[in-house]
């Protein structure tokens, strides 16, 4: 009788990222769901790993927070030990080794994006430990909707404005067409010299405002 025990808070999600001329742009929506209920309307899915590396995460919210914090700490120590700027590949490898050990039971689907001494990288790590290096990618329940925008509009060596627009539009496609995604688009633009975290970059839809259909 009554409300069943709340299922895990998941980030049913749309996250996306791409490489452009000067660096990477990664973006995420802000909805965290528990079953069919929106638990958090403004959840932060773009996690800080290092000054030059950020990771977007889809999956179980708790797992993502823990994994992101853990990788961030390990990367900090590693970078202090080596005396070098951290690399995206290192962060992704740490995540992969951890997640594979738990055979997918830690439900964390991450997109690592960053600029290091080897250039700009987007690395996708699945909960089972499958890792791929991509030029553009998306994850989460809204990933196919985001992919439809990314696939058709992505080109090599995009300019910054266009790259930001493409990522924002792809997250917007996820927000509008997927029920597990919603809220506002958060964007993070990382270049070799600077990282800019644009929280609440674009409000895609508001309650009470009617669309065309």
């Amino acid at each position: 009788m009554g409300l069943k025990h709340k299922p895990n808070v998941k980030t049913g999600t749309t996250i996306a990222g791409l490489i452009y001329k000067d660096g990477v742009v990664i973006g995420a929506d802000t909805r965290a769901t528990g079953g069919s209920i929106v638990q958090v309307k403004d959840c932060d899915k773009v996690h800080y790993i290092a000054d030059n590396i950020y990771a977007c995460g889809a999956g179980t919210a708790a797992d993502l927070h823990q994994v992101a914090n853990m990788i961030s700490a390990q990367i900090r120590l590693h970078s202090l030990n080596t005396g070098r700027k951290p690399k995206v590949a290192t962060a992704a490898t740490m995540a992969r080794r951890h997640l594979f050990k738990y055979q997918g039971y830690i439900s964390a689907y991450l997109i690592f994006g960053g600029c290091d001494d080897d250039g700009s990288h987007i690395v996708c790590v699945d909960a089972n430990g499958f890792t791929r290096v991509e030029k553009f990618t998306s994850q989460g329940s809204g990933s196919l909707a985001a992919l439809s925008v990314l696939s058709t509009r992505f080109k090599l060596n995009l300019e910054r404005e266009e790259a930001m627009n493409i990522v924002t539009d792809s997250i917007a496609a996820g927000i509008l067409n997927d029920m597990g995604s919603g809220g506002i688009v958060n964007l993070c633009v990382i270049t070799r010299d600077k990282t800019q975290y644009l929280k609440h970059h674009r409000v895609v839809s508001s309650k009470g405002v009617m669309g065309d259909y």
Binding site: D118, G119, K135, L144, A145, S148, V149, L156, N177, Y213
Partner: protein
């Protein structure tokens, strides 16, 4: 409505002698429909200012096997209606046979009255819902496109395999619902009064992306363009696929 007038209403009765216990469908325990076998891929359609454009590839799969690579999945019913569907192609062709039989009856009557897209859409919705209720559904998500002569406007509708029927400016069946629908909805939102060429380009772009992202698809496609005069099916269009981005090299800044 007389039974003989509309042969399509006679939907596969299992027993003509309903006194027979074993032949009575109510007591039949054998399962009939288990799942689609000979399947077609996605269908995409968008409404533009003066008509509708509908696109589908020409591949019919048999599980993982690409069995029939040059088969039509888009069917013109009359001068105002065209339909296509994903899923079990045998079921789709059965429905098209029934619709063609009705079309023939209409021609023989010769009174100028023809079933428009709205009527056909409604009929399909009812038939599919009836089959779902009997527990032996037809495994198709059907896209019905046409020109509504009474209201002088383009008509685009969708019927799911469980009988959910609705009308919308952009409609997709199959995996295109996840990959194509967001793209086409955005295109429609930006320009609802697009012209024929823009609509055809959108559909072609959509089919190209689908071909690259969906496993059971091919780049040989058909397009149907409906306007207020006729239905025009463009056959054997070969899509150009660009695999350049699959060459994954490190990008150095």
């Amino acid at each position: 409505m007389y039974k003989h007038d509309m042969p399509a209403m006679d939907i596969a009765p299992r027993s003509y002698n309903s006194n027979s216990y074993t032949m009575n469908p109510v007591f039949a325990t054998n399962k009939h429909s288990t799942g689609p076998i000979t399947t077609g891929g996605s269908v995409v359609a968008i409404r533009y200012e003066d008509g509708v454009v509908l696109g589908a590839d020409k591949l019919i799969s048999y599980g993982h096997l690409r069995r029939f690579r040059d088969q039509t999945r888009i069917f013109k019913i009359n001068e105002t209606t065209v339909l296509a569907a994903n899923g079990e192609q045998a079921d789709l062709r059965y429905l098209v046979d029934l619709l063609n039989a009705e079309q023939k009856q209409a021609e023989l009557r010769g009174d100028g009255f023809e079933k428009g897209p709205r009527a056909i859409h409604s009929w399909l919705g009812r038939v599919l819902y009836h089959r779902r209720t009997k527990g032996e559904p037809l495994f198709n998500d059907i896209v019905v496109a046409g020109w509504d002569r009474k209201e002088s406007r383009p008509y685009l509708g969708h019927v799911s395999m469980l009988g959910v029927a609705y009308e919308a400016p952009v409609v997709c069946s199959g995996i295109a619902t996840y990959i194509g629908l967001p793209y086409l909805r955005e295109a429609y939102q930006v320009m609802p009064t697009m012209n024929r060429d823009q609509a055809v380009d959108s559909i072609k772009n959509c089919l190209t992306q689908l071909c690259m992202r969906e496993c059971r698809s091919s780049n040989l496609v058909q397009l149907a363009v409906v306007n207020n005069k006729t239905v025009d099916i463009k056959d054997n269009i070969v899509l150009e696929l660009n695999w350049d981005l699959a060459k994954n090299k490190l990008i150095k800044n």
